[in-house]
């Protein structure tokens, strides 16, 4: 494969699976500018790591590992966060027909609660929301499975506390 066809194949796969990256940005940023900034950094890191992607694992499995690593470790938060737009009112407005106002408010509060967690806790929450099992969560973070479970339970407790002070 020539270098331009490799690039094309990468861009196509990323374009098709971009939701995964948006989800990571959703948890690790709180405004549109920062979201785009992190998305871009993850894209650059994915492209850099693409030569090592052998296709023996799924593109998404590989991409979410690189994406999480970028969000937690590599990404330097830029100071361009002056125009703080509440995300829930812009990009992620949930369809009014599906949710009643009270539920929507509760979900909004839940997201705000998750925003208050630290970077590692957010990673655990992200993988939980993505239905990853504890073996994979533990392996991705480099911790033991038992401790991943214990930590997850603590996070649930912490969220409850944040929401019901």
């Amino acid at each position: 494969m020539g270098s331009s066809s490799i690039e094309r194949s990468f861009v196509q796969q990323l374009q098709e699976n971009q939701n995964l990256i948006h989800k990571i940005c959703r948890l690790y940023t709180n405004n549109e500018d920062a979201h785009k900034d992190l998305f871009q950094e993850i894209t650059i890191q994915l492209w850099k790591a693409f030569p090592q992607f052998r296709g023996d694992s799924k593109f998404t499995t590989w991409a979410y590992r690189v994406g999480l690593n970028t969000a937690i470790t590599l990404y330097r938060k830029t100071k361009r966060t002056v125009n703080t737009i509440e995300f829930d009112n812009t990009l992620h407005k949930i369809n009014q027909d599906e949710y009643n106002y009270e539920e929507e408010e509760h979900i909004k509060l839940l997201y705000q609660g998750v925003q208050q967690l630290n970077d590692i806790e957010k990673a655990l929450v992200f993988m939980y929301l993505e239905d990853k099992d504890y073996t994979e969560i533990a392996e991705t973070l480099g911790i033991s499975e038992v401790n991943a479970r214990v930590k997850m339970n603590r996070i649930k407790g912490k969220l409850k506390k944040i929401l019901n002070p």
């Binding site: 971009q18 950094e41 973070l141």
Partner: protein
């Protein structure tokens, strides 16, 4: 149903509400420059190597060093130069091999460890350099005091006046203060630059270690 499961339901419904970047947008992103901390560590580390190398050339060319040449102490300055270049080569090699190990496809903890190890190679380099500088300053200090004609005359003058001890004390204190100020400036520089760069990484690394304790 607990809070997180409620969030999971909402999370799944959100699936189609994310912005969609076109292939053209993604192409454009590929060619932008990264602002990752690994890139910054690489840049700062190269600057440090260059700075120290530049400093050693600068010190070689100054009048004081030329004065040293006239003392014919090649038997000590040549091995010292060899050692200092050896130190640079060794640490550039260590830095490079560690840097190559940094991979975003490793697990979070391993990635953090590899970044910190790379960073530590440069810190060790600076530490070895400062130690080397302190030791070589003391060695040259002793040699110059014993062989430099001009200084021997001054020493004799102080000896005659009965202030020899005072002279040595002042010279000693001056050297210590010079080294002390130098180390302090380096330390402050480190605190500032790496404090800003690695604060979040250290915090997250500690958090991961805490989970596994």
């Amino acid at each position: 149903m607990d809070e997180l499961d409620k969030l999971k339901n909402a999370w799944k419904k959100e699936e189609n509400t994310y912005p969609k970047f076109s292939e053209k947008d993604i192409y454009a992103m590929l060619h932008r420059t990264s602002s990752s901390i690994v890139k910054w560590i690489m840049i700062i580390s190269i600057l440090e190597f260059v700075l120290w190398l530049g400093l050693s050339f600068l010190l070689k060319d100054n009048p004081g060093a030329k004065d040293l040449d006239s003392l014919n102490i090649d038997y000590i300055t040549t091995p010292m130069s060899v050692i200092s270049y050896g130190i640079i080569l060794y640490f550039v090699y260590i830095f490079y091999t560690r840097y190559k190990k940094i991979s975003t496809t490793d697990n979070v903890k391993t990635l953090m460890q590899n970044i910190l190890k790379t960073r530590k190679a440069v810190s060790a380099y600076i530490f070895v350099n400062i130690t080397y500088m302190a030791i070589s300053t003391i060695i040259l200090f002793i040699i110059v005091f014993n062989t430099h004609a001009g200084i021997i005359t001054i020493v004799h003058k102080f000896e005659k006046d009965g202030h020899l001890l005072m002279f040595y004390l002042v010279a000693f204190i001056f050297t210590i203060v010079f080294i002390g100020v130098f180390v302090l400036v380096m330390w402050l520089f480190y605190k500032l630059v790496y404090g800003m760069l690695l604060k979040r990484l250290y915090k997250n690394y500690e958090e991961l270690k805490k989970i596994d304790m």
